[in-house]
C-alpha cells in the first residue's frame, strides 16, 4: 500500500497531484500556481515552466516546423510571463491561455520569416527536420510530417483544438473569423491529414 512517492515542493500539491495520476491537470492546481506566481513565488514559476514547457514547445514546433524558432517562442513567452505575472488575469483555462500566447508569437515569427524568405532560403517540403527524427514513435513522426503540409490557418485550428484543448468558438475569436470558418478549417485540416497519412501508408 502507498507505493506512490510523494514529491512535496514547498507544500506544493501539483507535483503530488500528478503523481496521483490524475487524468487532467486540474484547474485548481493551476489556480494555486498562478496565485503563488502572482505573489512572486520562484518555485511556482519553475513548476509552471516544468509542467508546460514540453506542451508549449510541441504547440510552437507544430506551428513553426522549426525547433530553434519554437524554442525562442517558448523562451520569450515564459520570460514575458515572469515579467508580468502580477498583471495576469485569467477567466478560463491557463493551459489554453498559454497556447494562445504561443500561437500568437508563432504567427509573428512566421510573418517576419515570410518577409525574409523571398531573399533567403526556401523550405523543402516533406523533409524531416532533425528534431522530428528524435520522435521515437514512427506513427507520431508521420503525423508530425503530415501536419507540416497543412496551410497555416488549418494547422493552427487543428493544433489549438487538439493540443491546446481550445473550443472552436475561442479559436474563432483568436483568428478573427466566424465559428463556421473555424469548423471548416478543422474539417479540411483533418481530411487533408487523413489523405496524407493514407498515401504514406500506401508507399
Amino acid at each position: 500500500m502507498g507505493t506512490v512517492h510523494v514529491i512535496l515542493v514547498d507544500n506544493y500539491p501539483s507535483a503530488r497531484a500528478e503523481a496521483c495520476g490524475f487524468q487532467e491537470p486540474s484547474m485548481t492546481e493551476d489556480m494555486l500556481l498562478i496565485w503563488r506566481l502572482k505573489r512572486g513565488s520562484r518555485r511556482a514559476l519553475q513548476r509552471i515552466y516544468e509542467k508546460y514547457e514540453s506542451y508549449l514547445l510541441t504547440v510552437a514546433m507544430t506551428l513553426l516546423n522549426d525547433l530553434a524558432g519554437a524554442e525562442d517562442v517558448v523562451h520569450d513567452f515564459f520570460v514575458s510571463l515572469a515579467q508580468s505575472a502580477d498583471k495576469l488575469s485569467l477567466a478560463g483555462s491557463f493551459k489554453a491561455y498559454m497556447a494562445i500566447c504561443v500561437a500568437n508569437r508563432a504567427r509573428d515569427v512566421l510573418r517576419k520569416k515570410r518577409d525574409c524568405v523571398s531573399v533567403g532560403e526556401k523550405e523543402i517540403p516533406g523533409t524531416d527536420c532533425p528534431e522530428l527524427a528524435a520522435i521515437n514513435d514512427e506513427q507520431i513522426r508521420t503525423v508530425s510530417r503530415a501536419i507540416k503540409e497543412l496551410p497555416y490557418e488549418q494547422k493552427e485550428v487543428v493544433v489549438l483544438h487538439l493540443q491546446g484543448e481550445m473550443k472552436f468558438k475561442d479559436i474563432a475569436l483568436l483568428q478573427n473569423v466566424s465559428l463556421n470558418t473555424v469548423q471548416s478549417r478543422y474539417r479540411y485540416g483533418i481530411d487533408k491529414l487523413r489523405s496524407l497519412l493514407n498515401s504514406e501508408l500506401e508507399k
Binding site: 500539491p13 497531484a17 484547474m27 507544430t62 517558448v74 515579467q83 501536419i147
Partner: protein, 524 residues
Amino acid sequence: MRPTEDIEILVKKLRINPRAEMHTKTLNDILKAQEKSKLDASAVRSPGIGRIIMRSPITKLAAAACVFIAVVAGIYFITGKTPNVTCCAWAQIADKVSQVKTCVYRQHQRRSGGTFGQKVWESESIIYTSSDYGYRSEATIDGNLMLSYMNPKEKVVVTMLMSMKKYTRAMLTDEMADQMKKETQDPRDMLTKFMSDPYKELGKDTINGVEVRGIEVNNPPSVRGIYTNYIGRLWVDVATEYPVRTEIEMEIETGDEKTNWVIITDGYEWGVELSPDLFKPDIPADFTLMAEVNMPNRDETSAIDGLKYFSELTNGRYPSSMNSDSATQESSMALSQSYQQSMEQALIKDMNLAPGVSLSEAIQQTVAESLIKDMNLTPGMSLGEIIKQSFAMDMNLAPGVKPSEAIQKELLDKAKKNGEALQQEIISRTKKISEEMLVKTKKINEAMQQELMNKTMQLQGPSSFYNKLVLDGNDPNYYGKDVTARDPNAVLMTWKISDDTYRVIYGDLSVENVSAEQLKKMEQ
C-alpha cells in the same frame, strides 16, 4: 482509410521534449526576469473605480461567509448511523478502507436550479486527509481559490480566501472536534456509511480502463429529512478492492425550490505518504483575519437561539428546511439583507448624509444641496429640478421680447452647453462622494465582519443540531416550511428522546416533552 478519431488521437499524442541545455538556459532566464520584475514592481496600486460601488464589498463578504460556512458545514455531507456492513465482499472492502490512515482525492461539485436560478455553481477540490494530521482542501469555487485546513488536535478550522487576502478561524467544540477527527470529509468513513445503507449491486463496469464493480443506494435512511431524490453510487477497483469513484446526485429543498446537486469524487489515492507540513496553514503575512468565530454547540439551546434570530431577521419566518446547505443559503440571504441595511445606515450617519432614505437617494440629495448652495438656487430642489431650472435660466429672455430664430438657436446652444457642463459637475461631485464612501465603507466593513460571522454561526445552530439528531438516530422531524412565529402552538420540530417520549419545539420556540401518543394527536 484512417478514421478521424485515430488522427485526432495521434495529433494529441505529439510531444516534443525540450533539449537539456535549452531547458536550463530558459529556466535561468525566466527566474532572472522574475527577480528583476520584482525589483521594478510598484508597491502600491490604487483601487479600481468599479470597487467604489457599495454593493461589491457586501456581496463579496456575504459570498465569502457562505463559502466558509459551506466548508465547515461539509462535516454534515453524509450522515449515518454506525456502519454495519453485512455483505461479505463489501464488508471486506469497508474493513480494508477503514485501516488506511491517509487518503487524497479529487471532488467536483455542481449545483443548479432552485436558489441558484439560472446560475450553475461549480467547485473543484483536491482534498487531503490524514488520521494523524487532519484535513486540507484546495478548492476553486466559482473561480475563486480557497484553502481550508482542519486540525482536530488544535480544534480549529482555518479558511483562506485567496482573492480577498483574508482568512477566518473557526473554533470547534470538543464534541465537534472529536467527531471531525473521526469523519470530517474522510472518505473512509463516508464509504463505510455508504455501504451500511441498503444498497443494490450494479455489477461490473470500466472506469478509465480500470475494471470496477459498484453498488447504488437510493434515498437511504441516513439522508432522510436532509436530502431528497438521493442516489449514490460507489465503484471499487476489482483488482485492488479500493474505491475509485463515487457519484452522488440529490436534491435540496429550500422552500418551494429544488436545487440539484451532483458530487463526483475520484482520483483516490489510499495510504499515500503525506507530510505534516501539508496540514499546517501557511498564512501569508499580508492576509488579515476576517473573523474568529466559535462553532455553535450542537444542542437544543443553540438550535433555539438560531431559530429565534432567524425569525427576527425574517419577520417571523423559520428556515424552510434543516438541510445544512439550504439553511446556510436562507440564513445568508436574510443576514446579508439586514447587513446591507445596517451598513447603509452606518455610512449615511458617518458621512452626514440625509437620513431616512436609501444610499443612492442620499448621495443625490447631497450633490443637489452642494449645487443649490453654489448656484444660489431654491433650497430643497432635486437634481432633476436643478437641471431643468438651469436650462430655463439659460433660455430666459426679457418679457414681451420675441427673439429672432438666430438668437433662439444661439440660446439653445448655450443652454445645451451649460447643461452638459452641469451634468459633468454632477458626475464629478458624485464620484468624489463615492470615493470618500469607499474609504468609509472599508472601515465599517472591517468593523462589522466579526459580528457578521458570529451571527452566521448563530444561524447554523438549528441545522447543526438537527444533523446531530439524525446522526444519533433520534428520528427528528422539522416543519419550518409551514410554521412561523405567528403559530405559537404549532409543532415546529420534534425528536425522540426515549422509546415513548418526544421533545417538541413549538412555533413560539417553547419546548416540552410529550408522549408518542400525544405527539401523534398534535401532528394530526
